[in-house]
Symmetry: C2
């Protein structure tokens, strides 16, 4: 059987150590093509570039492995990868390994996960990987270990349609990781704050900052899994319809 | 009873005619504060500005009405509005009127809708309005008419928790609009294409383009409602968990 074709992308950019770690895993399993942003694109969510043109360049970062940079967002990378570079659908799209958790509501802000969501919109099995460690020198080995296992499972089982996977790994040594847990997105949110500063001309500017607050006590969420030493796997869908709310709004007698 | 506090934003920027049209509606109903991007932010999805600081400026665009521009995305505008300007939660957030439809999967790319989704993440009743007409000279009157009706209903009924509304209006004169229909997000997607061009230095660049394809024949979708002359209302949730897929992935024996 021929090797599966795997498209690899991320949101931290082509030079991020997390991308290198994921490419290492992917090359063990399939034929790999890399397309990653040419600059950091954290927090870009499902943004696409419509008001500006896009640049696409070949990259030597991964030596023999066919690699490209894109001036756009992670979602642009996936679109460019499928429709311009490969000109076919790959067997799998993987995104990451993100430097920092994308658990709970972070899924919606995350460029890493939005790339995976875009893959699922193209009916391609897609997985986003994130490690709960922002450090540039984070240890990606334990995440690599689980990523390899999960990718094999994803390629050898029926992948649910219209769904991608949001995989988060707690910052723990391999021997302390307890396994993988399929769970739901926690109701945990950022309590935002704007940090006010003065530029050299005396004009105000602001940094978005804040604290992440988990309001739930439930044990079936990704936040609970991470807290308990498990790798969390949340199936994520792009159908955002709140089906349960349709009847409620119909009572408004519009 | 005191007037409701309404935060108004959009993704086409502070000078867009669609924003002006929505502000006109809002001032009939409540006390209005406007915070809008200082430049067009179409297709920004749920992006937030984390790698750069944000600028916030007072604006005179709407005369007496308290108004601000923000250098960030529509989601940044909502965060700035709640946590920096109002320093409280408004009674309602409205976003738009977008120049162009945000029906079906467009909801996930749309800055207009992401602003409304962000509002729902803060437990604030939030509605995004879009008119299926990209023209700068679009006639917003029919949309204003329905927006006013719907906002009154939203303020006087129980608004579903963790949900916002995606409202799309077909490009039709008021007398041809048949009413409002609560529906689900259609499975309709962009078939992407990259338009290749050469810059003056002979280097390639690309524009994202393509065609929107509705693959469904169902009559309970937003696309069907629009096609049949109805204003579509889709309740949208930020919990992206594909609950139905959890048991399927558990069968992978991870």
């Amino acid at each position: 059987m021929s090797k599966p074709l795997i498209l690899v992308t991320n949101d931290d950019g082509i030079t991020a150590p997390g991308l290198k770690a994921l490419v290492e895993v992917a090359t063990k399993i399939g034929k790999v093509v890399v397309i990653a942003p040419d600059s950091p694109q954290s927090g870009m969510g499902h943004a696409i570039t419509v008001n500006n043109p896009i640049r696409i360049d070949e990259s030597e970062v991964f030596g023999e492995i066919e690699s490209y940079t894109c001036s756009g967002t992670p979602v642009d990378c996936v679109k460019v990868g499928i429709f311009h570079i490969l000109k076919r659908k790959p067997d799998l799209i993987i995104s990451g390994i993100n430097h920092g958790s994308n658990a709970a509501s972070n899924v919606i802000y995350s460029g890493t996960m939005s790339a995976a969501v875009e893959g699922s919109m193209e009916s391609i099995p897609s997985i986003g990987f994130s490690l709960d460690d922002f450090s540039h020198k984070a240890d990606f080995k334990p995440t690599q270990n689980f990523a390899e296992k999960l990718i094999e499972k994803a390629l050898n089982n029926h992948f649910p349609s219209n769904v991608c996977l949001n995989v988060n790994v707690p910052k723990l040594p391999l021997e302390e990781l307890k396994g993988m847990k399929v769970c739901r997105q926690a109701n945990a949110f950022w309590e935002d704050r704007f940090d006010e500063r003065l530029d050299p001309l005396g004009k105000k500017y602001y940094w978005l900052t804040g604290e992440f607050k988990d309001q739930e006590q439930a044990d079936d969420t990704d936040m609970a899994a991470l807290k308990n030493g498990f790798v969390s796997i949340v199936p994520v869908q792009f159908d955002m319809t709140a089906h349960h709310a349709i009847s409620q709004i119909n009572k408004w007698k519009l």
